[in-house]
């Protein structure tokens, strides 16, 4: 197994990069990062729209989220593959086709995470900001979102792991990424599928496991910080009490 890695590590790491398109595990990570970064703004918009009290805002957002949640990711990939080039009027590389599919699919899932983060905040946060004279948008951007996003950081890292795993489906439309590189290697070597697919699985495992563990660590840290904060708040609020305690 080691000797396969030694002989083909460039293919597995970067694909045919200097000579051809970027591939391998580097492309997988870049795909996941690009997908997450580009899906994020849409996800925030969707989450905020879903929490809107106006039906004509929250109803379409809810519909989008539910439709995307009801579709297999492969279907989204095929839609991106056929429809995106027509929509933007020029051919698209496999890389950006897959990023397009990831953005569409992940916007819905990230939106649900962010929405849960917003809903988990105490209502007092919004009320306090509004009574200090902040408008709706300033309350959202300066008070609600910073806290909601910080609190949902572990879930967001978890979703990043999902993105990494989902990029493997680019294999079906021959996007140059890690799974595709391994399948190329498998058809080159022909008789050593056990080794090749073990290398593939182990590498994914190392990357994803490291990330899920870090998500757990962040989660504990956040839990500790919040505990500290809430006890600090109690100390601050007591001197402000004007009513004498019974």
């Amino acid at each position: 197994m080691l000797e396969i890695v030694q002989n083909n590590w460039t293919l597995l790491l970067v694909g045919q990069y200097p000579a051809g398109p970027l591939g391998g595990i580097v492309a997988t990570l870049l795909l996941a990062i690009a997908g997450l970064a580009l899906a994020f703004p849409f996800a925030i918009l969707l989450a905020v729209a879903r929490l809107s009290p106006y039906r004509w805002v929250n109803w379409p957002a809810t519909a989008v989220v539910n439709i995307v949640r009801g579709m297999p990711f492969l279907m989204v990939i095929f839609w991106s593959y056929f429809a995106l080039p027509i929509l933007i009027g020029r051919p698209l590389s496999g890389f950006w086709t897959l990023v397009g599919a990831l953005v569409l699919y992940e916007s819905a899932y990230l939106a649900e995470i962010i929405r849960a983060g917003i809903q988990a905040l105490p209502r007092g946060q919004e009320e306090a900001a509004r009574s200090l004279g902040f408008g709706y948008f300033r309350t959202l951007t300066f008070v609600i979102l910073p806290q909601a996003l910080y609190n949902s950081l572990p879930a967001l890292i978890g979703q990043f792991v999902s993105l990494i795993k989902e990029t493997s489906l680019g294999y079906v439309i021959s996007v140059n990424e890690f799974t595709y590189a391994a399948s190329q290697l498998n058809s080159q070597l022909l008789v050593r599928p056990v080794e090749v697919f073990s290398i593939l699985a182990i590498t994914y495992f190392i990357v994803c496991f490291a990330l899920t563990q870090s998500a757990r660590w962040v989660e504990q840290r956040i839990a500790r910080t919040r505990q500290g904060k809430s006890s600090g708040m109690q100390i601050q609020t007591n001197p402000l009490a004007t009513e004498p305690m019974p």
Binding site: M71, W79, F82
Partner: protein, 232 residues
């Protein structure tokens, strides 16, 4: 866009037959994998609750391995690598008995089992210890306490995540097309390359997936409402 939609060339008798057989395989795959996954998940959750170190550790490894490797890679591993590791006779049996379908079903079931066992475990942990203590102090033994008091509550608590994972399982069956299982996504591509009516056939297939997903979501909601304990 000057694209003229023409559903009639996609919805001929032949292609409708293909779509129906695709839906049938998708549903068979979903049902088979769900049953296997549920059984394995229950076994895993029970093993993990035993507090017997090696068992707990083994379950943890199983769960982490299946959660941190893409399902497609697991499916490819089962399809390309696993038969090499099996005895000759098993391999022959697989080849004669539609190996793609069976291996895809096992791969999807194993992966889903890992997630479901976590759902069951968090349900078990969410039942307060006092429930167990109360059961014991009423004179129930360990098995009685577990089966009459703790497990029923734990199952109720884990209904929402179980519904979620069932939906994901259904959607993930589309991955089986990568190894040539003739399920809905595979048939859709076949009709597409036969007719070149890409948008029509993918609209139909997406519609079918959405209808089936919404049915699962709806039934899931019913079950959740039926079994919810109310907030306390």
């Amino acid at each position: 866009m000057g694209y003229e939609f023409d559903f009639s060339s996609v919805l001929t008798d032949q292609y409708i037959d293909w779509l129906i057989s695709g839906v049938r395989i998708t549903l068979l795959l979903t049902a088979g994998a769900w049953i296997i996954a549920f059984v394995i998940a229950v076994v895993l959750a029970v093993l993990r609750a035993t507090n017997f170190r090696p068992a707990v550790w083994l379950v943890a490894v199983f769960v982490e391995v299946h959660q941190n490797i893409p399902l497609l890679v697991q499916v490819l591993f089962w399809y390309f690598a696993m038969p090499e590791l099996l005895p000759e006779a098993w391999r022959d049996w697989l080849v004669r008995n539609n190996s793609e379908f069976i291996l895809a079903m096992i791969a999807i079931a194993m992966c889903t089992a890992a997630y479901m066992s976590e759902a069951l475990r968090s349900g078990l942990r969410a039942v307060p210890v006092t429930q167990y203590e109360a059961g014991r102090s009423f004179g129930f033994n360990y098995l009685q306490t577990m089966s009459y008091i703790v497990v029923p509550q734990a199952l109720r608590l884990s209904v929402p995540p179980m519904v979620n994972h069932s939906l994901l399982l259904f959607k993930n069956t589309s991955i089986a097309m990568a190894i040539g299982v003739h399920e809905l996504t595979y048939q859709t591509r076949q009709i597409d390359s036969d007719t070149f009516r890409t948008f029509e056939v993918f609209l139909v297939a997406t519609g079918l997936y959405l209808v089936l997903s919404f049915i699962i979501m709806f039934v899931g909601n019913l079950i959740e409402r039926r079994f919810s304990m109310g907030t306390r």
